[in-house]
C-alpha cells in the first residue's frame, strides 16, 4: 500500500493557488464552472474510438464525462482519453497562420489568411508550371475524419492534379492491409471486438494491447473469466503478457518463423479444419509443404524460445473451438510486415477460425481513423472505397462523380516513405502536409530533416507547432476533433461520428474549410462546393457505392440510431456487417488464399559491433508522435522523456545501473537516454519509446529499410550497441525537463535519470 510520504511535509505559508498533489506544482483548475451542455462524441486518439461526453461551458470545452451508452467502451477511458479535452483550449494552440517571409532562414511570422493562402497558390503554381504537376505532393494523415481524408485525396488529385498523394498510415499499418488484401480480399478486422468474449483462445502477437488499446484489455479479461486462454508473443513482458497463460518472449523479427512453426505442430497433431480448408480456401498444399520444413525444435532456435513453449502454444490455439489472433505494429513494422500478417492469417485459415463468434483474425488500428483513412482514397494507389487507381472501371466511376475527365485523373504516385528520397532528388519540390509529424515518426530522422528543409515550399496544417511544422515555410492553424463533425471508422470497422462541441480558437479554421478555400483559390472551386462535412460524406458515400468498403447505406442519422454502423452497408435498410466472412471471403470466388511464406531474417541482424536488437514502441501515456499528448500536463508528467529498457543481465554486462545515462548507437546515429533496468525484457533486446522529437527521437536510430509491397519501414528491429556515459544530453538541462526528472525521483517505475543510485539488495 502506498502513500507519497513527501505529502507529510508541512508548509507554514498558505498559498492562494491550488496545488497538484502529484507534482507538487500549482495548477490552474476551476471547479466551479457551470456546464452548459454535454456533447456526445468519441475520443480523438486510437482506433478504439471510445465514446465520451465533452463538457461545454461558455463556449469552451472544460471537461470530460464518461459515456456509458456507447457499447464498445461503456464509459471506460484510458488516461489519454480522459485528458483528451485538454488539447482543445491548450495555450499552445496555433491561432493564426505563420509564414517565413524571406527564405528558409527567416523566422515564422504571423500572417493573415489571405496572405498565406495567396502565397501557397502562387508558390505551388510556380513550381507546378516549372517542374510539372507532380512536383507537388500531399502528405496526409489518418487521425482525420473520413470526410477530411477523402477531401485530401480529392484535393491532391483534382485541385493540385498531382499523382503524389499519400498518408501516414503508410508507416502505421499498411502492411496489415497488404496482408488482408492478399489473403482475405477485404481490408478490415474480421470481427467486432465483442467477439473476444466468445473466444476460447486469443493469440496476441506483436500487439501491446494493455498500453496501446487499453479498452480492449477489458474484453480479454472478461473472456478469461470464462476460461479463455491467452497466448502473448512479444519481446517484452507487456501488461497483458504478465498473466498470460503462455508468454512467448520471441526475438524481434522472427514472427513468421514462429507462426510457421505453430502451423507445423497443428498439421502434425491433426488439429486442422480439413473441411474449412477444402470448402473455403485455395492454395493449401503449397503452404503445407512449406511449413513442413519448420519443425518447432528448429524454429525455436531462431525465435530464441523453448521449443516446448511453441508446441504448447500451438496446441492451445489449435484445440480451441473458437480462437482469435490479434496483431499490431510489432508484427507489421518490419521489412516483411505483409508476410508476417499472411502467416498469421494462414494459421487462422488452417484451423477454420473465421466467420463465427469468437473466431477470427484482426489487426488493431493504432490511429483514430486508421481504418477509414486507408479506405477513402488518400493512399497513393487508391480511390475512395478501396477502389484501385489503375482500374479502368474504378477510374471512370470516380471521375463521373467528381465531374472530371478521366485523362485528368492522375495515376498512382509515391507512397509516403518514398516521397522523402524523391524530395532529396528534387523530384518533389513542394509538399502540403496535414495531420502528420514525420520529424518524429519517420526513420532516419537526419535524412528526413534534410529532405523537408530542401523543399521549395513546405506547408503544414496543424493545431500545434509540431517538430515538423517548425520546419515549414507556411503553417496553417487547423482544428482539433472537438471543433468539427465527421465520421471515423474504428478498429472494428464501425463507422462512428464525432460531433462538434466548440468553434476553433482565434484565427484557427476548420480543416476542411481551409482545404476547400485553397481549392477555390487554385481555380478548382467548382469541385469543392461543400457547405458542411455532411455534404462531403454524402459524396464519399456515393463514391463507395458498390465498392469493397461500401458506405452507401450509412448516414449520420443511422450512425446516431445504431451507435455506429459496420461497413459494408450497401443499402439504406441494411443494418451493417459486424462480422465478416461468415459466408464468403472478399475475393470473387469467395475463397480465402493461403500463401507459403518462408522466414526472412530482419534486414539488420546483431553482430559484433552492434550486438543488441533495438526495438521501439509506444507507452500508454502518449499517442503516436506525441504532438498532443506531450502537451497534456498529466500525460507529460507520467512519461516526460524517453528511456532505454534493458535486462539486468545486459545492464550488468555493460556495467549500467538504473538511472545511468546510456548512449545507444546504431549505424544511423546515436542518442543518450536514461536506463530502466528490468527483468521484463529479453536480455538481447533494448526498447526505447518513440513518441519524442528532436534529440529525444529514437527514429534517429531506426533502420530505414522498406517492406517491398507496402513500403512500411522496419521500426521494430535493428542492430544496436549501448555504452554507459557520464555526459548528460542537452535536453536534460532544459528547465522543464530538469524539473520532471526531479519529480521522477519519487516514482519508481521509470528511470529516475539522476545520479547513480545504490544497488538494491536482493
Amino acid at each position: 500500500m502506498s502513500v507519497d510520504k513527501n505529502i507529510f511535509r508541512r508548509r507554514r505559508t498558505k498559498q492562494a493557488e491550488t496545488v497538484d498533489f502529484h507534482s507538487g506544482k500549482p495548477v490552474h483548475w476551476k471547479s466551479d464552472e457551470q456546464v452548459d451542455h454535454y456533447v456526445a462524441t468519441h475520443c480523438c486518439y486510437c482506433g478504439v474510438q471510445c465514446g465520451m461526453y465533452l463538457k461545454v461551458a461558455q463556449g469552451k470545452v472544460v471537461g470530460v464525462e464518461p459515456r456509458e451508452d456507447f457499447p464498445l467502451n461503456r464509459g471506460m477511458l484510458c488516461p489519454k482519453g480522459t485528458t483528451a479535452y485538454q488539447t482543445v483550449n491548450h495555450p499552445e494552440r496555433l491561432t493564426y497562420p505563420l509564414m517565413r517571409r524571406s527564405g528558409k532562414d527567416s523566422p515564422l511570422e504571423r500572417a493573415s489568411w489571405d496572405e498565406v493562402l495567396d502565397a501557397i497558390v502562387q508558390r505551388f503554381g510556380g513550381i507546378q508550371q516549372q517542374y510539372g504537376k507532380d512536383a507537388v505532393s500531399v502528405y496526409s494523415g489518418s487521425s482525420l475524419t473520413n470526410e477530411k481524408c477523402y477531401l485530401m485525396g480529392k484535393f491532391g488529385r483534382v485541385a493540385l492534379g498531382t499523382r503524389h498523394v499519400d498518408y501516414n498510415g503508410r508507416l502505421c499499418m499498411s502492411s496489415a492491409s497488404g496482408a488482408n488484401e492478399r489473403s482475405l480480399g477485404l481490408d478490415r478486422a474480421a470481427n467486432p471486438v465483442s467477439d473476444i468474449l466468445h473466444a476460447d483462445c486469443v493469440f496476441v502477437i506483436g500487439a501491446n494491447i494493455g498500453e496501446c488499446f487499453p479498452i480492449v484489455t477489458s474484453y480479454l479479461w472478461q473472456a478469461r473469466d470464462r476460461g479463455c486462454k491467452l497466448i502473448v508473443a512479444d519481446p517484452r513482458q507487456t501488461p497483458i503478457a504478465r498473466t498470460a497463460d503462455i508468454f512467448l518472449p520471441l526475438r524481434s523479427g522472427t514472427d513468421s518463423a514462429l507462426l510457421n512453426g505453430m502451423l507445423h505442430v497443428i498439421i502434425k497433431e491433426g488439429m486442422l479444419d480439413e473441411e474449412f480448408i477444402r470448402e473455403r480456401t485455395v492454395g493449401w498444399q503449397e503452404t503445407k509443404a512449406l511449413v513442413e520444413q519448420y519443425p518447432p525444435e528448429r524454429v525455436a532456435k531462431v525465435c530464441g524460445l523453448r521449443p516446448e513453449a511453441i508446441i504448447e502454444a500451438a496446441r492451445t490455439y489449435g484445440r480451441a473451438k473458437a480462437a482469435m489472433i490479434y496483431t499490431a505494429r510489432g508484427l507489421e513494422h518490419q521489412s516483411k510486415g505483409v508476410d508476417n500478417g499472411v502467416t498469421a492469417v494462414n494459421l487462422s485459415l488452417a484451423t477454420g477460425n473465421f466467420g463465427r463468434p469468437g473466431a477470427g483474425y484482426g489487426t488493431l488500428t493504432g490511429q483514430g481513423n486508421g481504418q477509414g483513412g486507408r479506405e477513402v482514397g488518400q493512399k497513393a494507389t487508391q480511390l475512395p472505397g478501396c477502389r484501385e487507381i489503375e482500374n479502368a472501371q474504378d477510374r471512370e466511376y470516380i471521375c463521373s462523380i467528381w465531374g472530371i475527365d478521366e485523362q485528368d485523373l492522375p495515376h498512382a504516385g509515391y507512397p509516403a516513405t518514398l516521397m522523402i528520397p524523391a524530395m532529396l532528388r528534387k523530384e518533389l519540390r513542394a509538399c502540403l502536409m496535414i495531420c502528420s509529424n514525420p520529424m518524429v515518426s519517420l526513420p532516419d530522422q537526419h535524412t528526413v530533416e534534410q529532405a523537408l528543409r530542401g523543399l521549395d515550399c513546405f506547408v503544414v496544417i496543424d493545431f500545434f507547432l509540431s517538430e515538423t511544422a517548425e520546419l515549414a515555410d507556411i503553417v496553417l492553424p487547423g482544428s482539433v476533433w472537438a471543433e468539427d463533425e465527421g465520421t471515423t471508422t474504428s478498429l472494428e470497422g464501425r463507422v462512428i461520428k464525432h460531433n462538434r462541441a466548440v468553434d476553433p480558437p482565434g484565427g484557427a479554421r476548420v480543416d476542411w474549410q481551409i482545404v476547400c478555400e485553397l481549392a477555390q483559390r487554385l481555380g478548382k472551386g467548382q469541385y469543392f462546393q461543400f457547405q458542411s462535412p455532411r455534404d462531403i460524406f454524402d459524396e464519399l458515400r456515393l463514391c463507395t457505392k458498390g465498392a469493397k468498403s461500401d458506405y452507401w447505406g450509412i448516414t449520420y442519422e443511422k450512425i446516431e440510431q445504431q451507435n455506429g454502423v459496420f461497413w459494408p452497408c450497401p443499402t439504406q435498410d441494411h443494418p451493417g456487417t459486424p462480422r465478416l466472412y461468415e459466408q464468403r471471403f472478399g475475393f470473387p470466388d469467395g475463397r480465402a488464399r493461403f500463401h507459403p511464406i518462408p522466414y526472412i531474417p530482419a534486414a539488420e541482424e546483431p553482430d559484433e559491433e552492434y550486438p543488441l536488437v533495438l526495438t521501439t514502441g509506444r507507452v500508454i501515456y502518449h499517442y503516436l508522435s506525441g504532438n498532443q499528448t506531450r502537451r497534456t500536463p498529466f500525460l507529460k508528467e507520467q512519461a516526460p522523456y524517453p528511456w532505454v529498457e534493458m535486462h539486468e543481465q545486459t545492464a550488468a554486462w555493460l556495467d549500467i545501473c538504473e538511472g545511468d545515462w546510456v548512449r545507444v548507437l546504431t549505424r544511423r546515429g546515436e542518442m543518450t537516454v536514461p536506463a530502466l533496468v528490468v527483468r521484463s525484457i529479453r536480455p538481447d533486446t533494448l526498447f526505447i519509446p518513440y513518441h519524442y522529437g528532436h534529440t529525444q527521437a529514437v527514429n534517429q536510430l531506426t533502420n530505414p529499410v522498406l517492406e517491398p509491397m507496402m513500403k512500411i519501414p522496419e521500426y521494430k528491429v535493428c542492430a544496436a550497441s549501448a555504452v554507459r556515459t557520464t555526459e548528460k544530453p542537452a535536453w536534460a538541462n532544459d528547465e522543464g525537463v530538469a524539473e520532471l526528472i526531479e519529480a521522477r525521483k519519487r516514482r519508481r517505475e521509470l528511470p529516475s535519470a539522476h545520479a547513480r543510485p545504490q544497488p538494491t539488495m536482493r
Binding site: 491550488t18 498533489f21 502529484h22 504571423r110 518472449p249 500508454i620 527483468r679 519508481r748 536482493r762
Partner: protein
C-alpha cells in the same frame, strides 16, 4: 440488505498500471486537479505488475481516520461512506494519516487540510459509478454490489473478494474489497511484510519473461529455410547539413 451495498472491488491481477483512474479522479468537480487514488508499480525491475490503492471505507473498526480526528472533521454518512475532511473544521494535524491502515489520506499542503476519496459521493448518490471505476479500462476497479460482481462472472476462475485485513492482531473489516484467490480468507499484511524481508535469502521467482526465452541462432544454423531479400534502404545515408532553426513566433 447489507449485500446490496455498492462497493469497490480492486483486482490487481487485472490492473495494467495505466493511471486512467488517477487521471479521471482529477476530473472530479469537488477536487479538480488532484487525485485521491494511487497506482503503484510493485517492483518495476521484476515485473510490470501494478496495483491500485484507494480509500477502503473501513466498517469495523468504523473509519479509524474519523475516530482519531480531534476536530470531528471527518464525517461518516449514514450509508457508511467515509467523507473527506470538512475543510472548515480540519486543523491539519495529520492524525488521520497515521491512523489509516492503508495510507490513504492526502494532505493539502497549501490549503492545509486533509482530502481523501469519498466514493464520488456526488455521483454515487445519484446512482452513477465513481469516476475511477467508470473509466478503468480493464475493470480492475469494479463498482457495484457483491451480487453484481458475481453476476459479471468474475468468480469463475477462482477469484474471491476479501474485505478482512490483519495488521498484526488488529483486524480491519472494510466496505471495499480486494480480489484475491479462493484459498484466501483474509489478507495478513504483517505476514506479507515478513515474507518480503526474507527475500534476501530466498531465490526470486522466475520472471515470466525469462521462462520461455532462450538463446538464438540464425536460420542457417537452425536449419530452416529462409529467403534472403536484398536490403532496400529508402534514403541515401547522409548527415544533416545545418543545425535545426527553432521556429520563432513574432
Amino acid at each position: 440488505m447489507l449485500q446490496t451495498v455498492k462497493r469497490i472491488f480492486l483486482d490487481p491481477s487485472r490492473c495494467i498500471g495505466c493511471r486512467s483512474c488517477v487521471a479521471a479522479c482529477r476530473e472530479c468537480d469537488t477536487h479538480k486537479g488532484e487525485s485521491m487514488i494511487y497506482i503503484d508499480y510493485i517492483e518495476r525491475s521484476d515485473t510490470v505488475a501494478s496495483s491500485p490503492t484507494v480509500c477502503m471505507h473501513c466498517e469495523d473498526p468504523l473509519a479509524p481516520c474519523a475516530q482519531v480526528c480531534p476536530a470531528h472533521a471527518i464525517l461518516v454518512s449514514s450509508d457508511g461512506v467515509v467523507q473527506s475532511a470538512d475543510e472548515t473544521r480540519c486543523i491539519y494535524c495529520e492524525n488521520c494519516g497515521y491512523a489509516c491502515p492503508f495510507g490513504v489520506p492526502k494532505f493539502h499542503i497549501a490549503q492545509q487540510y486533509m482530502q481523501k476519496c469519498n466514493l464520488c459521493y456526488d455521483r454515487t448518490i445519484q446512482g452513477k459509478g465513481p469516476m475511477c471505476a467508470t473509466v478503468c479500462p480493464t475493470q480492475a476497479i469494479f463498482y457495484g454490489a457483491y451480487e453484481d460482481w458475481l453476476a459479471a462472472g468474475r468468480a469463475q476462475q477462482g477469484a474471491k473478494p476479501i474485505n478482512d485485513f490483519y495488521f498484526g492482531q488488529q483486524k480491519v473489516h472494510t466496505r471495499n474489497y480486494v480480489v484475491m484467490t479462493s484459498q484466501d480468507e483474509e489478507l495478513d499484511l504483517m505476514a506479507l511484510v515478513d515474507d518480503v524481508s526474507l527475500t534476501e535469502l530466498v531465490e526470486m521467482p522466475e520472471v515470466t519473461a525469462a521462462r520461455n526465452a532462450d538463446a538464438w541462432v540464425d536460420a542457417d544454423s537452425a536449419g530452416i529455410p529462409q529467403r534472403e531479400v536484398p536490403s532496400q534502404p529508402w534514403t541515401p545515408r547522409t548527415v544533416p547539413v545545418r543545425e535545426p532553426v527553432r521556429a520563432t513566433i513574432s
